[in-house]
Amino acid sequence: MKQLSLMIDLSRCIGCSTCIVACRNYHEIIDHTRAMPNGIPYYLRVENRERGTYPNVAVDSWVMPCQHCPEPKCLPSCPEGAIGKDAQTGIVRIDREVCNGCKTIPETLAAEKTKAAPCMAHCPTHINVQGYLGLAAKGKFPEALALIKEENPFPAVCGRVCYHPCETHCNRGEIDEAVSIRAVHRFLADLDGKAETRYVPPVRDRKAEKVAVIGSGPAGLTCAYYLAREGYGVTVYEKAPVIGGMLTRGIPAYRLPRDVIEGEIGAIRDLGVEMKTGVDFGKKITVAKLRKKRYRAFFFAVGTQVCKELGSEGEGLKGIHPAYEFLIAVNSGKPPVMGKRVAVIGGGNAAIDAARSARRLGAEEVFIAYRRSLEEMPAGEEEIREAEDEGIRIETLLYPARFIGEQGRVKAVEFIRMRLAEPDESGRKKPVPVPGTEFARPVDDVIVSIGQETDWSCLTPECACTITGTGTLRVDPVTLQSEDPDIFAGGDAVTGPRSVVEAIAAGKRAAVSIDRYLKGLDLRENRERDWTDTAKVQKEKYDPAKRAVMPLRNPKERSGTFDEVAAGLSAEAVMGEAARCQSCGCACIQSCPYGVIQYDGGRGYSHKCDLCFERIHVGDLPVCAETCLTDAITFGEKELVRRKVEDMGKEVLKDLTRESILYVR
């Protein structure tokens, strides 16, 4: 396909904005009689980059129009199909007749609709939630799934176990109930269940550089996925006999069926990622050795594999199991035999999962003892509810003072009651024991789930990077680069135990950094969109449909097996639920990584640069190129423009080379 393009000469662009104003005037996207500063639409904006320190400073300026991407993210995000890429010119255009501004009511909410929707802003992987809900509401399921897969290689996993900040912040929640986003997400992901028909994204040009990923949890695999797509050779080293980290070894199958995980891991393998299990990195295989083998970058995503200990008397007794070790055993199909009465100590996801697993292994009486109150409990609401439905009792403000044993085996727990004092450094209220409230409770087994930490023996002495006071690796929060330039780290290993979706986001972030690092580019440049200012939209007119309820199998039936508890929604229910989305923003505006799409509140459509489609067809230059004060903008067919750049003997600034709009210096 021919691709028309602009070229901006950095040695000439002075960032004066002349083109911006000329463009506005020509396209008549400004109402001169009413315009006020900082609210006028624009198709171009100036970007500046300052480098260095006084007196060795440099400032580059350039204009940023629509990039007319080869694979435009806006195009598939539009539920109306209003966006197209012109075959003759490669120009991405929005059809004003078709665009309805994502269910807009003209003249209202104009400013809000150009902001990020809260669902997308709060999703650590920034999936275009509004976009896929819009498509799903129309029954365009494969299109909706493609949108999800662009940002997240684990849709089926996240559709089940994600703590869904998107729902927590959903504006609809202020009217009645949040959209059941995760349920829609899961439905879409499950459509891709069959390996034969699964969507595997194309790999860009193969590159010579190799990257090692240590740890095959969601962080590691996500990083591998994005690097493989870029064409790098990636090897994943996993200590355990199975791939997947806590997905396979921690989270039990009744919440996350094994074939679901395997399916998504399979897609990553299909991209050509090499996966080696049973490799305890840091022993035989080390950073030093791989550096010699020309591995150019390392991503440490080793999670938190070591169970913390309570330090209470009697913790060494038989029948006391660290939760994660217990779950590993359960998930590998060799569970320990459980007695009738099981106490679980802790309040996180793992505690709940341990309790529910114990129940499924035959324990009749399972209770969870948590030292704070229900409000402070880190486990998700749904999980707590489901556990309680399965007959698991949750007792709060209790702490195991000591374990009482008999012949080396635990027989009772002596608890002490707690009360909540002033908040501690974590911001949560600090539990303190109430003297004289000790009491003993007879048990057969105890599962201790009070947290995990990282074993850093994988970092051998040649690594210069350092560990923080809390036992995580010290990295730059923006780039995830450690003090060794070629070593990056992310996921639980950097944050402490968190969540799947945050691990995925970290893997993605690391992949971008590693790609830039291997290309010798600035790692920090233009990294982050501002996600803090989100749309606040509460429409007066809305469809009063109730939130769809995820059907769960009946507690009696389900608590005896490890089969999946949640059954999933029907296609019909999914379309209805997706239609409850209020469209806080515009799907295309949400999707654009460059933030170049505008929303016209008055007329109710989105619009953007079309390289002056009408003008160029009669042989005129786009207005920006014609009016550029310093003649810094060249226009033409991408290849010709690129050749012109080379003829000029100028080095193309790679970090600024987008796919279609070129920047030269």
Binding site: C16, N25, P37, E50, Y54, S61, L629
Partner: protein, 713 residues
């Protein structure tokens, strides 16, 4: 439907008045471009002219004050009533024999301006409506080369040969106020092998594109150039042939004696640039086929005359006078006089400046126009009774603005105002208009006729441009020129026997065989098509009294000090109070704004963050801020010896650690857009030349925008 058409005219978003074309569709202005016939460009201000044209704040009918001056209360009146008031008051003053107590405060677009004719016929004064800006530059050129320059005469950047050197010394050449094609021409020259050198305390957009940025101490330019002159002269690197042939006898010998101790090392200590850098640039200049120098803010300081002088000497000793890439000299276009030619007020008797304690000494510097702050002084002295402003905003434009605001409200013992009449022509309500007795709705530059004659017009040599109406004015707007012509017909009819402005321009165009109609037909521009280089060769000399170049300014030998050669010291306002006020305030300009007030500040596109300059933070070097425990966005008090403002900090690496940077021209109090955001006027910090800083009058420069300051939290 009427087809859309492009009409050639002239921009007036700033004083550069670039040749543009404007697209009109069904009587509505849609777009602006540079006029290709003039190799022209339109800058962001020019493009945003469409927003100015359709501003909802446009004044549409005459207003008469009903409240107190400054209160901003008006009632609508008819043009007839307004004209009668004007005729009665203005005619009355002349009848009293006090015509010279009228001042019109406007930017003289060209010597063909009918307002100027009115003043000359009437016997009143003209005030530039601007600070002196680069007056020192003009005076310097007149003294040295005898030219009659336009208010800014940048080198012909399009003529710079390969290897030529372009020096911007305190000059934001990419920021407008000069023809909009200047940025392109400088970059073209650089791309064909010329060198761009930027001397500036800030890393400007020009510095970002330069081969060499020299972060000089503000006002160190004189010392820097003297250091270069020393090196060139003492090492025989100057243009010997040129100097021998064209410099007045004896001047070069005197220079040699004077410059002997102005060594690069000594000068380096003053301007805070390493001596090696001074020597390097001097040697590059000696080798280069041409050197062009431009300055603007760099020559708005207290030592401006010294810098103008050093700059001229530098050009002369390197032979860069009226050569391609060097300093062009203007030429005259044979315009026909409009008989009878009025004599104008007797400046010799009345003095260039009628007021101020140093009137006589000041006269030596022969500043062409009065600065705004003299108005305040003149009102207090009883020398100014009627003030007419047109397209100017003295209540906000310049240092001493508060004194101006006070002065126009002053009354005598009987409660009568000292200033009898204040008339303001404006397109939008302004700070000045709020004080006016009559506010008259002017036509915008898209609605009026004007003949622009520049002795030197940047992009096509000396020539003529026509500004013509492209759209109808709103309401009852009348151009100030039309009003002045009608007043002329009423008060001094013998000088206004032509029908209207077009007829007046037709007479002037006769000498060129042109008329307004013909000029229109040939695309609104006329020029001989060449700028002509080394015109002095053909003319056999220069316009100076001796016909040669004057390096030595003998009449300044007996100023309060000897200033016959440039003194290397920093500007006096930067030398005083250094202990108490540790920072040097650098005032800078962006391409988005051309001054204070409505014209650009009330334009939404020029204030919009995407396409303009919204707020005016105080730029501070990040290291300096760190030392002082200050962070980005902190609200601080910025104090000078004479005033203080509250302003927000912006940390940057792009400014000298001993300087603070503030944009010029903010602080509007009227206009729906102009008042938005945090924007402070730096003028408040500048000591009023007429009142608090007595030496301002006599050093031959003015600290328009320069002072020392300190930060208090």
């Amino acid at each position: 439907m009427e087809k859309s058409k492009w009409i050639p005219t002239a921009c007036y978003q700033c004083k550069a008045e670039c040749a543009i074309i404007a697209r009109v569709e069904n009587g509505v202005l849609k777009e602006v471009r540079g006029n290709p016939k003039a190799r022209g460009k339109a800058c962001v201000k020019g493009m945003a002219g469409v927003s100015l044209e359709y501003s909802p704040d446009r004044l549409t009918h005459p207003l008469k004050r009903v409240g107190k001056r400054g209160e901003g209360k008006f009632e609508r009146i008819s043009w007839n009533e307004a004209m009668d008031i004007l005729e009665k008051k203005i005619g009355g003053l002349r009848a009293r024999g006090e015509a010279h107590k009228l001042t019109a405060n406007f930017f003289p677009h060209s010597i063909t301006d009918p307002k100027w004719r009115f003043l000359n016929a009437y016997g009143g004064f003209i005030n530039t409506a601007l600070p002196h800006c680069d007056s020192a530059k003009i005076v310097g050129f007149i003294r040295t080369m005898g030219g009659v320059p336009n208010h800014h005469i940048p080198p012909a950047w399009f003529a710079v040969p390969k290897g030529g050197i372009m020096i911007l010394s305190g000059r934001r050449a990419f920021g407008g106020l000069e023809d909009a094609s200047v940025p392109r021409d400088i970059l073209d020259a650089r791309d064909r092998g010329a060198k761009l050198v930027v001397l500036d305390p800030m890393f400007t957009p020009e510095a970002a594109k330069a081969d060499w940025w020299i972060p000089i101490k503000p006002s160190g330019d004189t010392a820097f150039f003297l250091g270069m002159i020393h090196h060139l002269v003492m090492n025989g690197l100057y243009d010997r042939a040129f100097v021998e042939r064209w410099v007045r006898e004896g001047d070069f010998e005197k220079l040699k004696v004077y410059i002997a101790d102005k060594t690069p090392e000594r000068m380096a200590a003053i301007c805070d640039v390493p001596a090696g850098t001074i020597v390097d640039l001097a040697e590059e200049c000696a080798r280069a086929p041409s050197v062009g120098v431009d300055s603007f803010k760099g020559i708005m300081l207290g030592n401006a005359m010294d810098f103008a002088h050093a700059w001229n000497i530098f050009l002369v000793v390197t032979g860069n006078v009226d050569n391609p890439g060097g300093q062009p000299l203007p030429d005259l276009t044979p315009m026909s006089p409009v008989e009878p030619v009025p004599a104008g007020p007797n400046l010799h008797e009345l003095g260039w400046h009628r007021t101020g304690p140093d009137r006589d000494r000041f006269a030596k510097y022969s500043f062409i126009m009065e600065p705004t702050w003299y108005e305040a002084q003149a009102i207090k002295d009883g020398g100014l009774k009627i003030l007419i402003t047109a397209e100017s905003n003295p209540a906000l434009t310049e240092m001493g603005q508060q004194e101006w605001q006070r002065a126009v409200c002053m009354t005598d013992g009987k409660g009568e105002p000292l200033l009898e009449l204040l008339v303001c022509f404006e397109i939008m309500m302004s700070e000045t208009a709020k004080y006016a007795d009559l506010v008259l709705p002017d036509k915008s530059y898209f609605e009026r006729w004007e003949l622009l004659y520049m002795p030197w017009w940047y992009n096509f040599g000396h020539g003529i441009a026509l500004r013509q109406p492209v759209v109808e004015p709103p309401g009852e707007c009348r151009h100030s020129n039309e009003v002045f012509i009608e007043l002329g017909k009423r008060i001094v009819p013998e000088y206004f026997r032509f029908e209207n402005d077009i007829a007046y321009y037709d007479i002037q165009l006769k000498g060129l065989g042109l008329s307004v109609r013909k000029l229109q037909e040939i695309g609104g521009l006329w020029s001989p098509g060449t700028m002509g280089f080394r015109k002095y060769e053909k003319a056999g000399g220069f316009g100076t009294p001796s016909g040669k170049l004057h390096l030595w300014w003998e009449d300044l030998e007996e100023a309060p000090w000897n200033q016959a050669f440039p003194r290397p010291e920093l500007a006096p306002e930067y030398e005083v109070n250094a202990k108490e006020f540790p920072f040097i305030l650098v005032s800078y300009r962006t391409i988005y704004h051309s001054g204070s007030g409505q014209w650009t500040h009330n334009n939404p596109q020029l204030r919009d963050r995407v396409s303009g300059f919204f707020e005016n933070p105080l730029l501070i070097h990040s290291g300096t801020a760190a030392k002082m425990g200050l962070s980005d966005g902190d609200l601080v008090t910025l104090e000078s010896p004479s005033g203080s403002i509250r302003v927000r900090l912006k940390l940057t690496e792009t400014i000298r650690p001993d300087c603070l940077g503030l944009g010029h021209g903010f602080g509007s109090t009227v206009g729906r857009v102009a008042v938005m955001g945090e924007g402070v006027s730096n003028n408040i910090l500048i000591p009023d030349a007429g009142s608090t800083l007595e030496w301002q009058d006599v050093v031959g420069g003015e600290s328009h925008v320069s002072t020392r300051v300190r930060i208090a939290k």
